[in-house]
């Protein structure tokens, strides 16, 4: 234990796809990197995502979550990253001094820059305020996935899934294969929130009903879930009286959204975006706290691990540059980047004046077809891209080239 490094150029917090890629790219850039991860094994949530569909962007192959993780784990070790597994960051100061804790040791760690890559957590029943009793058998889909795939447990026999997020859809198929009866998926919105291909291969393949514009209005069962009352919900997200029906089940899985895990960030004074629940970052992925960077699901929820990893790699390079004292970008006031018509949010939220290239990630507010996404600088179109299909479930990324260097008061991303 005492062999653990106490000082590094870059400390990466979190060993999921973003953290691993970030650590590897920071090390490739010449930095001495320590990766702190709270799990016994690296890979984060990927280890429980035993389904395939990962890696097409990053490797041009179809991989399962653990296989995808293994590629990045190898990459991080090959780059010389020192890993502190089974370790939680207990304290983080703006001075980039950390207190880490693991079995038998609570130790300080200091870095020139810190990359936040803690990922996200699932929204819970309590946050949704689903009325009813408080029986056993209510799980978030990701927790159920962990229990199923990592701890060899059956969470239930007759399963209702609330929310059509990808994890819930994947679990619908997984539990069907495992002999459970998945009695339906209930989605508040008029469209599914998971990827279209997961609707096809996880629900339609098995004839699992998808109730759009519906949600749970009451959970029944004193000791264990016995049934759930479901009703149609109107455009203002209120239940329509008279549309209630009861679905018998012993388990309710919630796949109703993910929340960036920013408790540590908040404590260190990182300013958060109310829409993404992640940090405000500049185009280097640096937060308002100098030397503290953010990437992956802790910055904004990604629908593909490939993109979380790519973002991590970019943040890692920048964190290394900061730590190694590379060319400091001048003190010029950064340019705000704001979501315009049809856009829910844009990351990063600011760009450095004079940048030659900018990558923006954004989501649209509602499903649509044949629209054009534009990046505007003070009203002038800098870049545009046709979107054959625009869907809130699908993050869009656009590269903006600006050979003369960016200069504007304000950038905007909008849908036309």
């Amino acid at each position: 234990m005492s062999a653990r490094t106490r000082e590094a150029d870059v400390v990466v917090i979190g060993g999921g796809p973003a953290g691993l890629a970030s650590a590897a790219s920071a090390a490739d850039a010449g930095a001495k990197v320590v990766l702190v991860d709270r799990n016994r094994e690296l890979g984060g949530i990927l280890n429980q995502c035993i389904h395939d569909g990962f890696g097409l962007h990053a490797f041009g192959e179809v991989l399962t979550g653990p296989e995808f993780a293994a590629r990045y784990i190898d990459r991080a070790f090959d780059a010389g990253v020192e890993v502190h597994p089974n370790t939680t960051v207990a304290e983080l100061e703006a001075s980039r001094e950390l207190v880490c804790t693991t079995l038998g040791e609570r130790y300080p760690l200091r870095a020139a820059s810190v990359v936040l890559a803690m990922g996200c957590r699932e929204r819970t029943r309590g946050m949704l305020q689903i009325p009813g009793t408080r029986p056993a058998g209510v799980y978030t889909a990701g927790t159920a996935q962990w229990l199923t795939n990592m701890r060899n447990l059956r969470v239930g026999k007759k399963i209702l899934i609330l929310g059509s997020g990808d994890i819930g859809l994947i679990m619908a198929r997984r539990l069907t294969w495992e002999g459970a009866e998945v009695v339906g998926v209930v989605e508040l919105l008029p469209y599914p929130s998971g990827l279209p291909r997961n609707i096809t291969q996880c629900l339609e393949d098995y004839g699992i009903p998808l109730h759009l514009s519906h949600s749970a209005t009451c959970i029944h069962g004193r000791e264990r879930v016995e049934s759930v009352t479901v009703a149609r919900f109107d455009g203002r997200r209120q239940p329509v009286p008279g549309t209630e029906f009861e679905i018998e089940c012993d388990t309710l899985l919630l796949s109703v959204g993910l929340i960036p895990e920013n408790e540590l960030s908040r404590r260190v004074g990182v300013r958060l975006d109310a829409t993404t629940s992640g940090a405000f970052v500049d185009d280097r992925h640096m937060t308002n706290v100098p030397g503290v960077f953010s990437c992956g699901n802790v910055l904004h929820i990604h629908d593909l691990a490939d993109w979380a990893a790519e973002e991590g790699a970019r943040a890692g390079t920048q964190a290394a540059a900061y730590a190694l004292g590379g060319p400091a970008k001048g003190g010029a006031k950064p340019i705000r980047i704001e979501p315009g018509d049809g856009i829910r949010y844009v990351v990063p939220q600011t760009a450095s004046r004079g940048s030659k290239e900018l990558l923006v990630s954004f989501r649209v507010t509602a499903p649509d077809e044949n629209r054009t996404a534009e990046v505007l600088a003070d009203g002038r179109v800098l870049a545009s891209e046709d979107l054959r299909r625009a869907h809130p479930a699908e993050m869009v990324q656009m590269k903006v080239g600006c050979a003369d260097g960016l200069d504007a008061d304000r950038l905007e991303v909008r849908l036309t």
Partner: protein, 495 residues
């Protein structure tokens, strides 16, 4: 017929647990009989967690007497047991001029009960005490406080158990037969004999009393729903905020109160129900709680709600009458050795140690033959410090002493592996997931166990070899899992 105890206490809520703890300081054989699989799982953990100052009790009543006596004793007991509590004060707010007489009435009652330092203050002054509170005037009650109700109940029961009291958990009382020398209490796990009997069954106390006393009054369940807000919201909250009462002897109204762990509670609602097992929360009530609380505290961060619960008041007043009745300590001439505690509603948590003391005094005056234990025979079992709240140096020292303190199992509440292991090793033998939760706070935070449940499961599988059926939320009727995904029995090819 099983063992015969000197005294059996029916019901291990905060009252039964307090009585058990008080009895454990005497030589004798004592049993506590509890329907659920842990202590305090009824109203005792589903309330506001407030140490009442004594302004809401009509002077001259038992409620007033036990509240005043109990609040002092409670603080002593919390010190002895290391249970978290705090005197954070309370503002009872008038949102309009016509509510000010209500404040004056509370002040008069409070002063008659001996509550010190009561003052009616302006809205502006109220806002200096609790920024963001909106009112025209307020009654400031500096002696009001908060306590962790589950920590208190469990700590009292575990202390009692560690000092010789026998707990029969998961034992619902189905009948009581009087005999020549006491009672035979029929339970779902077998009969238990006792010379003396204390009925502190809370919501079920009327039914239990009815086994011996057909004239026993009926208990009316009245549900109170609460919402729990994230600790992030609690940072802005330093004192409890109550509305001015609607009428004399009315309920306390929807209030906002900090908890000893830094969360905020909103509630309770008040609705009579027929089912004494109700634990259902409703959307209508949830919305109403948020609306009513927002009037007093407009900055209420609604988006930080992380949970909800519903508790049942044990009311002697019928739905038609409403309001409060006084506590009833009932002993009949036919069965003088049975004491029934009826209608112990608010401020029952505050009053618990005082009620316990009076019950024990009554028993001492009877011919039970209780003798005080020598001090050397008493081993007080203290509630563990929360690792997360200790200073950094102390944390370092603990991790060096016990490596398991270095492993954080619940990230939201900062609970360590050592704390989980300590919770499982409790003297009541409670082995439920809910038991671990209430003993450590693991899974009580913002992720509701999404992160720590799998880790707790892993610890229990690996350290204790638990199989799927061993994982229960509250008891055998609430299994967490239905089996193994892959069974060794199915394996026929082993490569």
């Amino acid at each position: 017929m099983g063992e015969i105890f000197d005294i059996a206490v029916i019901g291990a809520g905060v009252i039964g647990s307090a009585i058990a703890r008080a009895l454990s300081r005497y030589a004798g054989s004592f049993a506590v009989i509890e329907r659920t699989h842990d202590v305090g799982m009824g109203a005792s953990v589903r309330n506001s967690g407030v140490i009442h100052a004594g302004i809401n009790c009509i002077p001259g009543t038992l409620r007033a007497e036990y509240c005043m006596e109990g609040r002092a004793l409670l603080q002593d007991w919390c010190e002895e047991l290391n249970v978290p509590y705090g005197i954070c004060g309370k503002l009872v707010v008038a949102r309009a001029e016509e509510e000010i007489p209500g404040l004056e009435r509370l002040m008069r009652d409070g002063e008659a009960n001996g509550v010190p330092d009561l003052r009616i203050i302006s809205g502006e002054e109220a806002e200096t005490i609790q920024p963001g509170v909106t009112c025209v005037a307020a009654l400031h009650v500096p002696t009001s406080g908060i306590v962790s109700p589950y920590a208190l109940t469990i700590a009292m029961a575990e202390d009692a158990a560690a000092n010789g009291v026998r707990f029969f958990l998961g034992s619902a009382v189905s009948g009581i037969a009087p005999g020549a020398d006491g009672f035979t209490i029929e339970t779902t796990t077998g009969p238990i004999g006792a010379r003396f009997l204390v009925n502190s069954a809370g919501i079920h106390a009327g039914r239990v009393a009815g086994f011996l006393d057909p004239e026993a009054p009926e208990i009316h369940p009245c549900v109170g729903e609460y919402l729990i807000l994230d600790r992030q919201a609690g940072e802005a909250m330093s004192t409890s905020i109550y509305p001015a009462p609607a009428a004399a002897n009315a309920g306390l109204g929807v209030h906002i109160t900090p908890t000893t762990e830094g969360n905020i509670l909103l509630g309770p609602s008040s609705e009579y129900v027929s089912d004494p097992e109700t634990s259902c929360c409703t959307k209508v009530t949830t919305d109403r709680l948020l609306d009513e609380a927002s009037v007093m505290w407009p900055g209420l961060p609604r988006h930080l709600v992380i949970g909800a619960y519903a508790g049942l008041r044990s009311k002697l007043t019928s739905p038609e009458t409403g309001g409060f009745s006084d506590y009833v300590f009932r002993r009949t001439p036919e069965h003088p050795n049975a004491i029934h505690l009826l209608g112990i509603e608010s401020p029952g948590l505050t009053a618990a140690p005082a009620i316990a003391r009076h019950v024990v005094d009554d028993l001492l005056a009877s011919d039970v033959g209780l003798r005080t234990k020598p001090a050397g025979e008493i081993r007080t079992r203290r509630w563990p410090d929360r690792f997360d709240e200790l200073p950094e140096d102390e944390k370092k020292r603990l991790v060096a002493a016990d490596p398991d303190h270095g492993d954080i199992v619940c990230r939201c509440e900062g609970v360590t592996r050592a704390e989980i292991l300590h919770a499982i090793d409790n003297p009541l033998g409670v082995r439920t997931l809910s038991g671990i939760k209430f003993r450590t706070r693991a899974s009580m935070g913002r992720c509701s166990g999404g992160y720590c449940l799998p880790r707790i499961v892993e610890i229990l599988q690996e350290e204790f070899g638990w199989s799927p059926g061993d994982f229960q939320l509250r008891g055998p009727d609430s299994p967490a899992f239905v089996g193994r995904l892959l069974e060794e029995d199915h394996v026929c090819a082993h490569s």
